[in-house]
């Protein structure tokens, strides 16, 4: 098995897991899914500079050189992804605190916002 095949399937599996989790109903799996998707994207950018073994990213001496640019791009993407993940976790916690539910829609499925209150509405039939 070549390295390319391994990396490609690896990225594919992580992306699939990330997308599956992103489509869940609770904020915790959604945040996990976003992180997984972010990791897959980061590795994808890295791989787009082609795979090299035994190649240095900086020009010293002879021999093949790896493309240094995707590595710089990945660094930027990692930093931004880290910051936004921090923000979305804080937001999810705040939402849980305000609405009393960790569902992404802000209320338990099948119940109105505020749950215990007898108000009607909240027709969300989604299974979570």
């Amino acid at each position: 098995m070549s390295m390319e095949f391994l990396l490609a399937t690896g990225i594919g599996i992580v992306t699939a897991c990330g997308i599956y989790l992103m489509l869940r109903g609770r904020t915790f799996p959604v945040v996990l899914g976003l992180s997984l998707f972010g990791y897959a994207v980061n590795v994808f950018i890295f791989v787009m500079g082609r795979l090299w073994s035994n190649a240095q990213p900086i020009l010293v001496g002879d021999g093949p050189v790896a493309d240094p640019l995707p590595q710089a791009l990945v660094l930027t993407a990692i930093v931004i992804g880290f910051a936004t993940t921090g923000f979305v976790i804080e937001l999810a916690l705040r939402n849980r605190h305000e609405s009393g539910s960790d569902h992404v829609d802000g209320h338990e499925p099948g119940h109105a916002p505020g749950y215990s209150s007898a108000a009607s509405g909240g027709q969300n039939q989604e299974r979570s």
Binding site: F44, R50, L59, D62, P68, L91, V104
Partner: protein
């Protein structure tokens, strides 16, 4: 002294438009924001709030003046390339000022200045750090419009998105938090897709500079061209998400309706960032003469745009609250603009740009107006149901008629002129029948929707016995900000001829890729630049003859 300042600006104009809001934002952060303490009678914080407002307003006014300067400068046809850190073009990041980007920066400030004036009427003290985040948002917008590098565009997208996450939550409340989660998660997923598209583009071309990309994409063939086409469509999905194009607009109405009025008004420009990016990538890079990868989006863009326009108008017709209705009008106007972009002729693009100016300004004004009306309707707020009479029916009613007539496209307002330009420029094209039917039908539906809202708000009056004095008239500040938008609309109609000449020239400049390459890649040989990529790791085979010998490692 003033000469020196002017010379400094002349030399650094593009980057100053990005730096000014960022430095103002940092100063505002340092000034601090105790948040809400002023309401409890903190005299000290009231002073600081005044200073925050002054600083923020002064910065926005200065920024608007600089943006007007950028437009003046770009209108001569000069392409100004600003190299960050003096790195030559495909290796370093450049900011490029052309007519289109100058126009978009000016539009940003034309919306931002009255909205900020409105926000100082009270909204800015209902949460913390409003002014600082507002400036960061402006920094992201200006940067996204001025950058000439695709990855840099991503970075500025993130800046403006992170600022918009916080602005959306401004004022808190359960509904805003709920919509905030949706908005943030959706945009984070969109950012991931953006990176995938960028990485694919980089994999086949080995560059992310827009001018260099335009040259290299045109030389692709076979599998590489297919990957480039796929990347172009991934980018179309990402920008379509920001611009609220058909299958991706469902987040917009609820989100904009939940945001506070000044934030929603500022967000009127956010969808235009998506439109601008679509123009940059699908005209500038994957445009008409891009070899095998050319016009990758053509099959999708026009049908989706027209459907967006129709569905947006239908949504406005069915909306149950005024802010939702205006949000749907945003969707509808984006559809109309993208139709002009998707026809891929300079004439339609020019008309679409004019329509962009008009729709952004009118929609921002309508968002503010909706809140003014909602504040005088007691419990009903902006719900479209009979309620108590407005305090100032004549004043607000005049503004409503004015804004509605322009949004629906009635003469002599700019909405009418914009639609007329679109109709005229699409005459004779293959899709003429579709474009004409949709534009005219949408105009009619919009008019019906707005008339319905007007009738309910102004004439379906429910006499309420216990009418207390909660609904005082709107303050002068809020009214004047809203009037400013109406004035801008009127100015756009009066100045239609010079504005149209400018957008015509902008569209032509965008089509002239050789000049763009010449300006950005002058040292590499302009349109004939041969920068070796994609990177193959062999050092011997790297640099072509045109490149200076000390730069044998690309980027």
């Amino acid at each position: 002294m003033s000469d020196a300042i002017l010379a400094f600006w002349w030399q650094h104009a593009p980057v100053l438009s990005v730096l000014l809001p960022s430095f103002t934002a940092m100063a505002l952060l340092l000034l601090g924001d105790a948040g809400g303490l002023s309401a409890q009678g903190g005299e000290h914080d009231a002073t600081r709030l005044r200073w925050r407002r002054r600083l923020s307003l002064a910065s926005v006014l200065l920024g608007a003046a600089m943006a007007a300067g950028l437009v003046l400068r770009a209108s001569s046809g000069e392409l100004m390339v600003y190299r960050l850190g003096e790195w030559p073009a495909p290796f370093g990041i450049v900011l490029v000022l052309d007519r289109l980007s100058a126009l978009m920066v000016l539009l940003t400030y034309l919306v931002a200045a009255p909205v900020l004036w409105y926000a100082t009427g009270g909204w800015d003290s209902r949460g913390r750090y409003f002014h600082a985040i507002y400036q960061f948002q402006l920094m992201g917008l200006a940067g996204a419009f001025l950058t000439g590098d695709l990855f840099n565009l991503f970075v500025f997208f993130e800046v403006l998105l992170i600022a918009s996450y916080v602005l959306l939550l401004h004022g808190q409340g359960r509904e805003r938090l709920r919509m905030g989660i949706h908005y943030v998660v959706l945009n984070l997923a969109g950012s991931g897709l953006f990176l995938i598209g960028l990485a694919m583009v980089y994999a086949v071309t080995g560059t992310l500079n827009m001018a260099d990309l335009a040259l290299r994409v045109a030389q692709l063939s076979g599998d590489s061209a297919l990957i480039a086409r796929a990347a172009a469509l991934v980018l179309l999905v990402v920008f379509g998400l920001k611009a609220a194009m058909l299958p991706l607009y469902f987040w917009l109405p609820a989100t904009y309706a939940a945001a506070s009025a000044p934030v929603a008004a500022l967000f009127a420009i956010m969808t235009k960032v998506g439109v601008y990016s679509i123009i940059r990538t699908h005209w500038g890079i994957f445009g008409v003469d891009a070899g095998e990868a050319s016009l990758a989006a053509q099959a999708w863009l026009l049908p989706l745009a027209l459907s967006t326009s129709v569905l947006g108008a239908l949504g406005a017709l069915a909306a149950h609250s005024m802010s939702r209705m205006v949000a749907y009008l945003t969707v509808s106007s984006v559809g109309t603009i993208l139709a002009g972009v998707g026809l891929f002729t300079p004439e339609t693009l020019s008309a679409a740009l004019y329509y962009t100016l008009h729709s952004t300004i009118v929609i921002a004004g309508l968002f503010l107006l909706v809140e003014l009306m909602a504040a005088q309707r007691g419990e009903a707020l902006d719900k479209l149901r009979p309620a108590v009479a407005l305090r100032e029916p004549v004043l607000l009613g005049m503004m409503m008629i004015f804004g509605a007539a322009s949004a629906a496209g009635l003469p002599p307002l700019p909405g009418f002129l914009g639609k007329l330009m679109m109709l005229e420029s699409s005459a004779g094209l293959a899709a003429q029948a579709w474009v004409w039917t949709v534009l005219l039908g949408v105009g009619f539906l919009t008019m019906v929707g707005l008339a319905r809202a007007g009738v309910i708000v102004f004439w379906h009056i429910q006499p309420e016995p216990a009418q207390d004095a909660t609904a005082s008239g709107a303050s002068f500040k809020l009214l004047s900000a809203t009037w400013l938008f109406m004035g801008l609309t009127l100015a756009l109609a009066v100045l239609a001829s010079p504005v149209k000449r400018y957008t015509d020239a902008a569209a032509r400049q965008l089509a002239d890729k050789a000049a763009y390459a010449e300006a950005v890649l002058a040292e590499q040989g302009g349109a004939a630049a041969r920068t070796t990529r994609p990177y193959d790791g062999r050092r011997s085979a790297t640099p072509p003859a045109v490149q200076p010998p000390n730069e044998e490692n690309p980027r």
